[in-house]
């Protein structure tokens, strides 16, 4: 029993300490840049290889999942009392509410999160972060802020694209056999609630912030060498995924109930 309490105490303390260091990192990150031009350059670099480079995988996943969701929904709604176009309505809602913002963010947590954590981690162990610091550059701000801003701005665009492609995937599934595309189009336009899109985009922005800042945290404070960089990249993906899932629940409580 005593051991158990000891363990949970240690766990709690470690957790609070980690949270404290995370806040400290954030407070050092959002500072005035030494030179706006250089930060702008870093921003566009990050926008390119963290945001734009994710378009491909997001497109592929969205189309296929949209199609699968349509087939499954259709399969489950094989009831003569439910008109076919309700399938399209259900597909639209699941894509907008959950698939695009949450599932795509989880996928990005894997792709972008491990990228950020391993990049910053190897910069840490090869002393590049120390080199920035000695030059008088704030490494928190220079390395983390552009990434956070780039993804917070770009992920909503990515998610909107994902929503479109998801619906197109559903349309293609309908087209290739399950029911009339006419019904699908009709269903899509039924009872459209624009607030759902706002809800999804708010979620996306929060998730983008969590992915970038948490992964940066795990990369930035690596101690050791190549092995620790790998370990921390994994931790970054796991932690940002868990954070997304928890935040998803909290935001849904707040925004939809």
């Amino acid at each position: 029993m005593q051991n158990y309490f000891y363990f949970s105490d240690m766990f709690l303390i470690t957790w609070i300490r980690t949270l404290g260091r995370y806040w400290l990192m954030l407070s050092r990150t959002f500072r005035k840049p030494e030179n706006w031009n250089e930060y702008k350059k870093a921003f566009f670099r990050d926008l390119d290889h963290l945001g734009v480079d994710s378009l491909g995988i997001v497109a592929v996943i969205s189309i296929f999942v949209g199609a699968v969701v349509t087939i499954q929904t259709n399969y489950n709604l094989q009831d003569p009392l439910i008109p076919d176009y309700y399938v399209a309505l259900a597909v639209r809602e699941s894509i907008i509410l959950e698939f695009s913002p949450t599932i795509v963010s989880l996928i990005l947590a894997g792709k972008v999160g491990s990228n950020i954590a391993s990049t910053l981690g190897s910069m840490r162990v090869s002393e590049q972060i120390d080199a920035l610091e000695v030059m008088g550059v704030n490494p928190h701000a220079y390395l983390i802020m552009p990434k956070v801003v780039a993804l917070v701005l770009f992920n909503p665009i990515l998610i909107i694209i994902s929503m479109f492609l998801g619906v197109i995937g559903g349309y293609l599934a309908a087209y290739f056999g399950i029911f009339s595309t006419q019904d699908f189009i009709t269903g899509l336009q039924l009872e459209f609630n624009a607030y759902y899109v706002s809800y999804a985009l708010i979620k996306t922005v929060v998730f983008a912030f969590l992915i970038t800042s948490i992964s940066a945290f795990y990369g930035f404070f690596v101690k050791g060498g190549a092995i620790e960089v790998g370990v921390n990249a994994t931790k970054a993906v796991v932690s940002s995924s868990v954070a997304i899932i928890v935040a998803n629940y909290v935001l849904t409580q707040i925004l939809l109930v």
Partner: protein, 250 residues
């Protein structure tokens, strides 16, 4: 002038720096020598504030490190250049971008002026035609030289080099040593160099600090070191046959 008073640095339970007191003068190349693991790198990093110290004081021309606010510390750091033992080049940038990184951040120079400065610095370390290559495409010694070019790009007032010529062939090593001494005199820089290369000691050592197990075991001028009777120093310096012979002759 940099003044160091009784600095101590611990990692966990082990004390790595055990109370070092010394000062580094402007326009003089100061050399820190000592065996591998003696604490040279930890000392240099403590000096620039990368390691927080557990005790003692460090003054940069009457500005006390650790008593400055963030902006003052940043301002001081724009006056520093540092060469890390492992180079620490930015591997996402090419050589020229590495060299002018601080110029981009802190100077108002035009693109042409920056390019000219990069070429000038690279030429001084005997590197030409590598401006557009990435650090990963250079040899170890070339990377070291780029790191030196980057450290001197912004005309630092304080220059710190952690083993600037390890991994270089003897000719380039001497070239780098001479370069460091030249710019120290020319621009009146306060230069601190870590080394365990006895050649450097003889070539450019004007002020030498010998560190043993984290404490200062000896301090003196370049000539003195060859004639001292301090056993720790003689054991270190004359571990090489060549230097023993030099001593016997003189």
């Amino acid at each position: 002038m940099i003044e160091v008073r009784d600095i101590q640095k611990k990692f966990g339970d082990t004390t790595v720096l055990k109370g070092i007191t010394t000062s580094f003068r402007q326009g003089v190349t100061s050399l820190i020598i000592g065996e591998s693991g003696a604490g040279k790198t930890v000392f240099l990093k403590s000096l620039v504030g990368l390691h927080g110290i557990d005790q003692g004081e460090i003054f940069y021309d009457d500005r006390q490190l650790g008593k400055m606010n963030e902006d003052e510390q940043k301002a001081l750091r724009t006056e520093m250049g540092m060469v890390f033992q492992g180079n620490a080049l930015f591997d996402s940038l090419n050589i020229e971008e590495n060299v002018i990184f601080a110029l981009n951040m802190f100077s108002e120079m035009s693109a042409a002026e920056k390019k000219e400065r990069a070429d000038f610095c690279l030429e001084r370390v005997n590197l030409k035609g590598v401006n557009n290559r990435k650090p990963a495409e250079l040899s170890g010694g070339m990377k070291k030289r780029v790191a030196i070019a980057r450290a001197i790009a912004l005309n630092p007032k304080y220059l710190f080099c952690d083993e600037p010529n390890s991994g270089l062939d003897p000719r380039t090593a001497i070239l780098i040593d001479n370069l460091l001494q030249e710019i120290t005199h020319e621009f009146n820089i306060t230069t601190v160099i870590n080394t365990h290369d006895m050649n450097s000691v003889v070539e450019i050592g004007e002020h030498i600090i010998f560190i043993k197990d984290g404490a200062k075991a000896w301090e003196g001028g370049g000539e003195e070191i060859l004639h001292t009777d301090n056993k720790a120093v003689t054991d270190f310096v004359f571990s090489s046959e060549l230097f023993r012979k030099i001593r016997e002759k003189s």
